[in-house]
């Protein structure tokens, strides 16, 4: 690592330059000390994307379990629970093979194949069938149904995605808790619009952490300092746009993450306009699609800009462009290398994700991808939270829109979409987003005693767009 690259960013105690690993370790040690000290009922950990949240959860949990403490873990979705159970089982198998992880699921829950055959995992739909495991993991929704049991320790994962009413339903189950989450991601939402709870410290529409901190001012809040996922190229964009106050650094440095192409593929990979039997070697759009991939490979970002136009949400041209980029990426035999991880592997379909704002856009992109849709993950920002891939292709939430609503401006949405990748991210958008932003400054009402949400979605969008425009290729 170059000294200048790191030194300008984080310095440790005594002004010495600190390696990312050391900086992270220092913070994690402080978190665990706070959590185990018994001085605080809750400890909050804010984590930028890919900063080792799950690693922290696993470490805190196994630490407690090895010391003979029982604990409960709360996650928000079944996928998150399965992920955690798998990681905990592997970690415990190393350290204390006789300790067991309980996976509490709904009635009829069938564990995914990756949990099958893990000897220290028990699965059940009620506590009795789990027979008192050392660590019990379930979704918040499932925990709400648990009665007549209590734990001294709890870990709440993805706590910023949890609505405060969900925490209200389960807080009786534990005495002390570690709340881990990413404040930059999507806030929990409600289908209901109602201002009657605005300004209340226990507003049920707010995230669990927001309510927790407003009701308990003295809880310690830690920041994980290093993103291990994001490439260096994403550091300034994501940190400036979405974490303007705490910032973060990436664990890798310039040139550590690379994307290279081993083949050229063939024009038949493009759905757009090239009939079977293929006419020229590359269709009209092929040049731009390849160019934007080259730009993304070289710089970590690519913006494929379509001509300005107001469209329906399922903009057929934009959807096709997204599918083309994805298809070409795979056809050209992309190889991802990460010097910081000493890893090099071909980018397979399973390592590519496509993100969009709306479910109908997702469905349209899946349809456009055809057979590939089975392997490439295509999903909404909400569902991509917490996941990571080599390369992501994003349909910009504001592409082709006439208006910029609070939904489309939400900083968390863009943050999720722009921070899932390890190597590079390609954004597909109609031109004219900047003008759209300029004509739609945010005008959300300010409510008394309601903390203002930073960063503001409008500003975050401007910041990201300013960065992306330097990597633009026009179709």
């Amino acid at each position: 690592m170059s000294v200048t690259g790191a030194g300008a960013r984080v310095t440790g105690a005594g002004g010495r330059l600190e390696s990312p690993a050391a900086a992270a370790e220092r913070v994690i040690t402080a978190i665990l000390a706070d959590f185990r000290s018994g001085r605080h009922r809750g400890v909050v950990v804010d984590s930028p994307p890919g900063a080792g949240k799950s690693t922290l959860v696993v470490r805190a949990a196994t630490g407690l379990a090895v010391d003979g403490e029982r604990l409960m873990i709360v996650a928000q979705t079944n996928e998150q629970v399965d992920d955690l159970v798998e990681k905990l089982a592997v970690a415990l198998a190393d350290q204390a093979p006789d300790l067991r992880v309980g996976r509490l699921g709904r009635a009829g829950y069938v564990p995914p194949p990756r949990l099958d055959g893990l000897p220290n995992v028990v699965v059940g739909s009620d506590l009795k069938s789990l027979a008192d495991p050392d660590i019990t993991v379930a979704t918040a929704a499932k925990w709400a149904y648990v009665r007549d049991s209590a734990w001294r320790w709890a870990i709440v994962d993805e706590a910023y995605q949890m609505r405060s009413d969900a925490l209200l339903a389960i807080a009786r189950l534990f005495e002390q808790a570690l709340f881990v989450g990413d404040p930059g991601q999507l806030d929990p939402f409600s289908t209901v619009e109602n201002d009657r709870w605005r300004g209340l410290t226990w507003d049920p529409m707010q995230s669990a952490v927001a309510v927790l901190l407003r009701s308990n001012h003295d809880l310690p809040v830690h920041n994980l300092p290093v993103s291990w996922r994001l490439p260096r190229s994403a550091e300034r964009v994501v940190a400036d746009a979405f974490y303007p106050f705490t910032g973060f650094r990436t664990g890798n440095d310039d040139g550590d993450r690379r994307l290279t192409f081993t083949g050229r593929g063939s024009a038949g990979d493009l759905a757009g306009g090239v009939p079977a039997g293929g006419v020229p070697a590359r269709g009209a759009g092929a040049g731009a699609v390849d160019d934007v991939l080259d730009v993304a490979a070289a710089t970590g970002w690519g913006l494929l800009e379509l001509p300005p136009r107001y469209t329906l949400r399922t903009d057929a041209e934009a959807v096709r462009a997204v599918a083309d980029v994805t298809r070409r990426l795979l056809a050209r035999g992309a190889v991802a290398s990460a010097l910081d991880r000493r890893d090099e592997h071909p980018v397979t379909a399973g390592q590519v994700a496509v993100g969009a704002a709306h479910r109908d856009q997702v469905a349209a992109i899946r349809a456009a991808l055809g057979e590939l849709a089975g392997d490439v993950v295509v999903d909404t920002a909400n569902r991509l939270q917490g996941r990571e891939y080599d390369v992501t292709v994003v349909l910009h939430p504001l592409s082709g829109r006439r208006d910029a609503t609070a939904f489309h401006l939400e900083a968390g949405r863009l943050c999720v979409l722009a921070s899932r990748h390890r190597q590079a991210c390609v954004v597909v958008a109609r031109a004219g987003i900047r003008e759209l932003l300029d004509t739609h400054p945010s005008h959300e009402p300010v409510h008394l005693r309601e903390p203002v949400r930073f960063p503001d979605g409008w500003a975050a969008n401007q910041t990201v767009l300013a960065q992306l425009e330097r990597h633009a290729v026009r179709l």
Partner: protein
């Protein structure tokens, strides 16, 4: 705006007349709704100036406040309004009762509800400094109750189990012109429900009761699909699209101009005329500023002078009476056009056939009415609704609102092909023809026993965007659920394969007719009412530390009713 609504607006703009966006009436309409057109005075938050109110178009009651800044007169107005509203409530309650079926599973755990959280107003302390968001609105509002009064908790409580063994056959339905009218009801309820009827600043006995009922109505208006308090502009835009903006649609006169223009005029022409505040005074509660300055201000000044003269010399009742009559006259000029519009709108809505699920939603309104009516008469009930929801009440209310919204949207899509069309455009629903059916298909379930799960294949030209495994239901076969096994592009559209369950009886081979036949045309939608998250929230007194701990119990105190009177 959905694509269908945008399309309807374009059609309306081209045709110069409003276009239907619903084929049935989704709002329940009482036989005798209580129409309320309130006006407030500019410059003071929610100070009532006048109202036309009544259940008979030809005989509305006109209420006015001679000097809206005078609190004694304001509560005299409240007392008169209470006379009318409470009589209406009693009429509804006297319309008879019906027995309520006991809940299906009595054993089903009832979320800690009942008289939970008697008082509880820690929020009074925590949020006391808030001063009430729309401050001034009830400058009167020092008489704040804490949070979580039993009233609030009761109201937010959403258990489907009926609270009473019987249900009234009727419930009050109040129609106001617009959303601001609902806000007026809410704020006026807030400024009256805490008033004391004895001691200093006593108000007539009916005033705090009025406050409770107005708050009840405003609370119901938050519930999707409730018809207890309805804003007419919103009821109309639910059924018609105009060629003007949503902002312009909030003007009742302009909206009705598109829907029901006078003979010889097109919608836009009539709407343009409707924007003239002299011809069509605003539907309130805010009044036209020109009217305020030129007409109302001199009338109120004359009233003040007469009142001062009366106070100074003793006599002068006649002058005061004349001044009041003048205010009544000018108020009437502002209210009557809206009054007539309201009834025309009621007639237009009544002409539509009621939606299939509207009576069920009205039944919920009736059940809530019954419960609140008995709560007010309960020996240890009758406390005013809390000013704010406590943590538990808020969570419970939010859960109830979300559930009702989901139900309401699904119901409307089921009841109305025009609403369904909106979901067909987004791919959440489709209409297709059955092209294949495997009626006798059986497969093992999770436990390994064989169950009947027929397959049907439908061909549709809709852009069906349903992920595999999505649950769908057809309005024509509400008891049967389908799960999409595959959605494949077929010529000109999609081929959807559904696995059906339910609605086929218990025999191994489903009886004829219980499975769709080849050639049948069916609509399927993925908008279903799912069992929502409603598991045990704690009782308010067990509010956990994460949410500020248990609120301290509310003790009624003398100063609750104190306020600056002058």
């Amino acid at each position: 705006m959905s694509a269908v609504e945008a399309y309807a607006r374009l059609l309306a703009a081209r045709a110069g007349a409003a276009q239907p966006v619903a084929s049935v009436r989704h709002v329940h309409l009482s036989e005798r709704p209580l129409v309320l057109v309130p006006l407030t005075m500019a410059g003071e938050a929610n100070a009532p100036l006048a109202a036309l109110v009544g259940t008979d178009e030809r005989a509305p009651a006109l209420l006015v406040v001679g000097q809206p800044r005078d609190r004694a007169l304001r509560f005299a107005f409240a007392s008169e309004l209470a006379g009318i509203l409470l009589a209406h409530v009693e009429r509804c309650a006297a319309a008879g009762t019906e027995p309520v079926k006991p809940p299906k599973a009595a054993a089903r755990q009832q979320p800690a509800t009942a008289p939970a959280g008697r008082g509880a107003g820690r929020a009074g302390a925590a949020a006391g400094g808030l001063g009430g968001a729309p401050a001034g609105a009830d400058a009167a509002g020092t008489g704040e109750q804490g949070t979580d009064g039993p009233g609030a908790d009761w109201e937010a409580e959403a258990a489907p189990e009926p609270a009473e063994p019987v249900r009234f056959l009727d419930a009050p339905q109040v129609l106001v012109p617009n959303r601001a009218g609902i806000d007026f009801v809410r704020l006026f309820g807030r400024s009256t429900r805490f008033r004391a009827t004895t001691g200093e600043h006593a108000v007539p006995a009916a005033v705090p009761v009025l406050g409770r009922w107005l708050t009840y109505l405003a609370g119901r208006a938050e519930h999707p699909g409730s018809a207890s308090l309805v804003a007419m502009t919103e009821a109309l835009t639910l059924h018609w699209a105009t060629g003007q903006s949503a902002l312009e649609d909030a003007n009742l006169a302009a909206l009705m101009a598109w829907i029901d223009p006078p003979a010889g005029l097109s919608g836009p022409e009539a709407a343009l005329l409707a924007e003239d505040p002299v011809r069509w005074p605003p539907a309130g509660p805010a009044t036209d500023p020109q009217f305020d300055n030129r007409v109302l201000a001199p009338a109120i000044r004359a009233y003040d002078a007469a009142a001062a003269g009366q106070a100074g010399s003793g006599g002068g009742d006649e002058r005061l009476g004349e001044a009041l009559a003048e205010i009544q006259r000018v108020a009437r000029t502002q209210l009557e056009p809206t009054w007539r519009l309201m009834w025309r709108a009621v007639d237009r809505l009544r002409a539509l056939p009621a939606a299939a699920s509207a009576p069920r939603r009205w039944e919920r309104d009736r059940a809530r009415f019954t419960a609140y009516y008995s709560y007010l008469r309960d020996s240890d009930g009758g406390l005013p609704q809390a000013r704010r929801d406590g943590a538990v009440a808020a969570a419970r209310r939010l859960g109830a609102l979300e559930r009702e919204l989901a139900e309401y949207e699904a119901d409307r899509a089921f009841d109305d092909p025009l609403v369904l069309a909106g979901h067909r455009v987004t791919g959440e629903a489709f209409v297709g023809t059955v092209v294949g059916a495997d009626r006798e298909r059986r497969r093992p379930n999770e436990r390994g026993s064989l169950v009947t799960r027929p397959l049907v294949q439908l061909r549709t030209v809709d852009p069906a965007r349903l992920a595999t495994g999505t649950r769908v239901r057809s309005p024509a076969r509400p008891g049967q659920t389908g799960v999409t096994l595959a959605v494949e592009p077929a010529d000109d559209g999609f081929l959807v394969v559904l696995e059906l369950s339910g609605g086929m009886g218990r025999s191994k081979v489903p009886p004829p007719g219980s499975v769709p036949k080849v050639g049948e045309t069916l609509a399927y939608t993925s908008l279903l009412v799912e069992g929502a998250f409603s598991a045990g929230l704690p009782a308010p007194e067990d509010t956990p530390w994460t949410h500020g701990g248990p609120p301290s119990p509310y003790e009624p105190a003398e100063q609750d009713a104190r306020e600056l009177w002058e």
